[in-house]
Symmetry: none
Subunit: 416 residues, 2 copies
């Protein structure tokens, strides 16, 4: 029923190859095409150079069913897309009178002299389907060459997106008789590494083709993207649910949420449900933990505050850690983490106190190597629970992993 | 003298073709290569598929002098870059014992079970130059095939950038005897908008071709990038200095630094020079201000700490703001900001106290519209200075602008 359409995206523009801008057009287009069930197999970026663009187009014509070209349709001499495509696809160029009138009107209205090369923007291929551009001058086009369909779009993101959304996507859906829905769901995991998660699920990941199951690693967490193709949304959702159940049977203990969920948001929700409040005492993380959860609107109902005690003296004077404890065990210790969590809970009058102390680098301190981190959790009158870690990475990574781990610990603690 | 090196960048990863992430690696790499005078002629993105990756690599081997491949070096089954490259470039794969030890140690230290496929991360090509990865597991590599040089790098941006900056770029400079120097300098401005800065400098920006002058706007600050091409570094620097002087004559009052300088680093430097210490009392910013300055290595010498007093009760109990003051003026007030700065200075025993209180949204509070922010600065026995702002934007933007403004105020205060 469904045709398999294999596509590629060609981005034309030397500014991309110089790194002056990121290729966000290719990303945006890829998402839209995936939504239609079109497989994007390649992105190819090339500069404003006749021979190289010609080679790139010839290759695309051979290997792809559908090629989307963005950029190089403007008025200047280095805009070569039409000229090169005319050669590769064996097309003649004509002037679209409607576009030309629009171009001329623009210059008249704005009291500008229209240079000859602006006529180029009205050039189209004979017999092409023309998509008129409401956001700018150069129109989009669709034309065929052998088995391959070619879409040409301006490179300006606003113009490209507008043409694509309102005209090209509906056209492609009809032209390729695409009638499938793409449903996807992202499962989020914490406390399990990417490779271990894949080990646990390797047979599912390998066997699944619809829905597909794709892992992606982030800092301190891993996600799995489930993507189903189906004729209706309901069927797609059912397919996703079935695979999701299989996955959660094995690794559900590490799954904290889906799609837009963040671990800090889940902690926030659990605290709110349980009518609990949270404060932090932060040394190496320097406020980064509390900052993350305060980013959530409504945090004021669950977060009284935090004490950032970066120097030893502020641990003693403000957080009231006994000087003797620091002399005996150091600030980077189980004992100090425990006292920090206990005291911040008392001072902030919260139900839970969490503490972070450790060495984020660059140098060893108190004979503790860079990356040594203690995280303490204290609830009401219970004994504090202290965890010790040895994180890798630079100062920033160590601080980030500490914060992530803090949320993971709290999440597991609150869930049980 | 100068060799012409024509390069391409191959990005491996299905997540790029699904549009889940933008290809920022290719942009970043392109800029760095351009700085060395290397021409980047193509970006080519391909998924985790053996045959397609093989075709893409074969094409690159034919058409380019230098190929940079990122991604696909991880531990999972769909990481295929090494296996495909071994075929295309006719290389044997061996295990690097140093990397393997590191991988094993990581799992042992963190009490994690190491799955068999993690050994893959220690696989390298026989005879390749290996670039050891301090930010992660899989190392980078350089190897040659015929006339073409191949660099392999992990796809995780942090790891890729670190390897590239510290090891690969110096290696390529030596290997290809690159002797065109690209000298660039970024001037950083705060307290002036992008369009005003461009207005002031429009003639210079337009007339300059070597060095070029390119403005870029960020959140709350603007930068100008000056880029000169020259045969020696000394000549390039002289060219830059000349244009820089012209620019600073007009807008020097807003320039706080250059290149890697950040406004928080300049504040840090000024505090250190003057032997001063800084603490913060943060309500709407929730620790984001102190977090930024604690990111700087060595911050412990100037930052005793911070009190994040997000709820009214913690302002009263911990920061000791009189309840009467809050009843009379509210927490979002000049008076509260003043008392917060004064009290945190006393509690943390610092030379300077800074305070942030305001409404970051989403709803109006205490009859103050979203975006109302008070920032207070208190030094020793001097009267606190309070500034009031009305920032635009969402919760995140308002909190960011408040933090940036706090650093700008401190910078100007400390400089004078």
């Amino acid at each position: 029923m469904m045709k398999n359409v294999n596509a590629e995206i060609i981005s034309v523009g030397s500014e991309l190859l110089l790194g002056q801008i990121a290729n966000t057009n290719a990303q945006w287009l890829s998402k839209r095409l995936a939504d239609l069930g079109i497989n994007v197999f390649f992105h190819h970026t090339v500069g404003d150079n006749f021979n190289r663009l010609e080679d790139v187009m010839k290759l695309a014509d051979k290997r792809s069913d559908l090629v989307i070209v963005t950029g190089g349709l403007g008025p200047t001499d280095d805009d070569l897309t039409r000229e090169v495509a005319a050669v590769v696809l064996d097309k003649t160029i004509t002037t679209d009178e409607e576009v030309l009138r629009k171009v001329e009107q623009y210059f008249t209205k704005n009291n500008l002299r229209m240079s000859e090369n602006n006529r180029k923007q009205a050039h189209v291929f004979s017999g092409a389907k023309v998509f008129y551009n409401t956001e700018g001058m150069a129109p989009g086009m669709f034309t065929s060459h052998g088995q391959t369909g070619w879409v040409f779009l301006p490179g300006v993101p606003r113009e490209m997106k507008s043409l694509m959304s309102t005209q090209v996507l509906p056209f492609l859906t009809a032209h390729y008789q695409l009638n499938q829905k793409i449903i996807s769901k992202v499962l989020k995991f914490i406390g399990i590494g990417e490779s271990l998660l894949e080990d646990e699920l390797s047979d599912i990941i390998r066997a699944q083709t619809n829905p597909t199951v794709a892992p992606l690693a982030g800092e301190g967490e891993v996600t799995l993207r489930l993507t189903a193709k189906a004729t209706t949304e309901a069927i797609g959702l059912e397919m996703i649910n079935e695979v999701e159940s299989k996955i959660l049977e094995r690794v559900g203990a590490y799954c904290y949420g889906a799609d837009e969920d963040s671990i800090e948001y889940k902690v926030f929700e659990l605290l709110r449900e349980k009518n609990m409040t949270l404060s932090s005492a932060e040394s190496l993380t320097g406020g980064r933990f509390i900052e993350r959860i305060i980013s959530i609107p409504g945090a004021s109902s669950i977060i009284p505050g935090s004490i950032v005690c970066y120097q030893e003296e502020s641990k003693i004077n403000v957080l009231q850690i006994p000087r003797k404890l620091i002399q005996d065990y150091g600030t980077i210790s189980k004992q100090c983490a425990s006292q920090m969590a206990t005291n911040v809970l008392d001072i902030m009058k919260s139900t839970i106190g969490i503490s972070f102390t450790g060495n984020a680098g660059p140098n060893a301190a108190e004979n503790k190597p860079v990356g040594t981190v203690f995280i303490g959790i204290k609830r009401d009158a219970e004994e504090p629970i202290i965890h010790e870690y040895q994180f890798k990475g630079n100062r920033d990574t160590i601080r980030n992993r500490s914060v992530k781990k803090g949320f993971e610990l709290l999440y597991n603690y609150l869930k049980n």
